[in-house]
Symmetry: D3
Subunit: 164 residues, 6 copies
């Protein structure tokens, strides 16, 4: 098993030096789910006044661009694309975030940050009715590009690939 | 059931006007859990070199201060305290974040944002070994102050107070 | 005529010291107009898919909170409310932004910045079809609170109160 | 007429994916005009104490670098140059801002944002004397580079190329 | 000797809880000196073209407002005043920065940050001619307000009050 | 002697246009020293609770990524590496910061900013015990890459290469 690249020999947290890596196309996709009681979901405004959660999409997109400012050891990257989908589903709101770049390191954290901040924004919009809302299962769905190649999460698999 | 304060009559998202509310002491506490496989947890550096996740604590504290920049409808608040605890437990890393202010609105989002960003930072530190790590159960534990008074989450209760 | 409070005796730009001013309720409202050709306006998506310019509203709200970061001599203020309205009208898009605080100085710049950034965002959304779009007449509509009291712009008046 | 690249098929605002575009030299220039009454212009400090509006130049340069943070769907770009000129003219202050990069998308918004924030800063410096000051005609003067090639605004032309 | 308020009992760095402190007028002043060779100082542009280091003043003022974003354990404060003076002297450039607020904690770090960033900006302006320039003696000159009362540095005293 | 590249012919501060420069590997290293009285140094927590100044390392790393936001004429750069070392020594705390990029301009300011902000954070952690602490000798140790080639500071040399 490889060791944790974010710790130096002295065991303190450090940024990975990506200067020797080639710049390549990289992308990542992450998800989050905001579990909300049906009574609260029903309170969300209906069309045609617009998607009440459009604001969460936008907050997620902006968070992706601010990832290196939020996560101390992330590299600033020239993102070529960010997209966030926010969908009301039974039992809550599902968020999917994707990010892409042409750079020396990947964009997993940009996708994860976008999903997390979009979820926080959904929470903010609904918390007046139910503080028990929770954000669940922020996880990486897939990544592509770079030396470690493609990763795709198995449906229903958890940490270490264990079944849930 | 009260309606969603973050939507105006036209159904579009808007900031709550807190100008007429009195400034009072307010606090909130939130948690997050990062589910990590044992093999990965074992790779974290040991003392005496220091807490490998100290960086996540600091990222969470800074995120609390940046909440109004991340969450579009949050008010900028003069925080009087922010604290984040990051503890390696069986099955993962537990994060508890608290925030306090003397202001016209509460700090639930500051505590939630601190917990979420600390969790993202833990993910970032460990993702080289396991992309299947997931962030679970970002939730508000308690809040105090303000007109809506004190909220305290029941152990094991979920959205809408439903049992889990 | 009073002198320019933002210049010291040596004539260099400096922040106004508001430490001796009382904190009071203050508000301001500003407007901007984005002049867009009819053919471009017609290309904007129709409902029920949602207000295509919701994103400009949100960008404006966030810009108000970032005013002291954008305008070098502005004071950081604990805003109690920000609102931005974006309406498609004949000949373009009209933006109205308002801000409020309880503080030692006013929020004219917060309202002006919100209007300007919302207008820039509208431009960004439409520029693919017409780079000739222009942002016109970013102006203060009214302010209230503080020693200088209430200001209300006369319809159709310009700088120095001159008729247009 | 091509459609609006910032809206997806579902009609919601989204970032343009520039991952497939080649990185090329790109530049843009924008202008803004701050209309100020003569009595106010005369109050500006004289040399040799320095250009009273130097601060607006600097605010504009910094705003260009913060464009992707202000405008939700803008891409972060490694700017190679930003310049802002601020000149006192009859009837007000004229601002010209230019930006350049070697990237996959253009810098129109960087130039527009720099012009807008420099204009807001001029307003801030002068508002103590006249709240009726207005920012007029923020517009793109030219852009070069990229697939859409060079654009140059005709003197006195308005949206859609209509004469003013 | 009191213990370090920024470390909790477990010895990890934490933000001081100022919620119980009264809000009072507080101010602080700091200095920095940028040591520059005479030949470089002579290259600075002369008036009447303006103070070549005006840009450092402005960078320092903006840094003061961003202190809680730069220094992890600083509280966000509603600054009522920030001022920075930058003066070319024999042997280099002297910077003095002051900050003030009405809040529950002091502004020493705001004054120190303003002085440091103004000094870095002076370095940036001059480094093309001499990379050996150094920033020296960033120190607190005085502070007032708050429970610890007034502090005034003795001329020529160093850490612990030792003579230099 | 070459002239100051940060001033245009009119003598006003301006960003250097690096559009024509080739992108190359560039790196820089800077240092700072925080002079602290022995009695204060002894108050720092001991292991195994962790390096009390880890927070300063992280603040420095984040400051490097924010350099173009802090220093008005710096270009935003895609940093490939940042590292900061913070070591308690006799008489104080020594900080060494390094930065690297593959870009059209160098990273001296990123290394200098990281060292300065790490030093400010050390000051913040210790100021409760001694406001007389001072930050000394923020200086560039070396730089590599780019047309001006490699620079390496002589031990004990000062501005203009003069002996200290």
């Amino acid at each position: 098993m490889s060791s944790l690249s974010h710790f130096d020999d002295a065991g303190s947290a450090s940024m990975v030096d990506v200067g020797a890596k080639p710049a390549t196309q990289r992308s990542a996709k992450a998800r989050a789910f905001v579990r909300i009681a049906p009574a609260v979901l029903e309170e969300l405004p209906r069309n045609p006044k617009g998607n009440p959660l459009e604001i969460a999409r936008i907050a997620g997109i902006q968070a992706a661009k601010r990832t290196s400012d939020l996560i101390p050891l992330c590299h600033p990257l020239p993102l070529t694309h960010v997209d966030v989908a926010v969908e009301v589903q039974e039992g809550g709101v599902a968020i999917t975030a994707s990010a892409a770049t042409f750079a020396r390191t990947g964009v997993e954290m940009e996708a994860m940050s976008a999903a997390a901040v979009a979820a926080l924004t959904v929470y903010d919009m609904c918390k007046a009715l139910d503080k028990g809302i929770e954000i669940r299962d922020i996880q990486l769905l897939e990544k592509a590009g770079g030396k470690s190649g493609t990763y795709r999460r198995d449906r229903g698999s958890g940490p270490g690939g264990a079944d849930l």
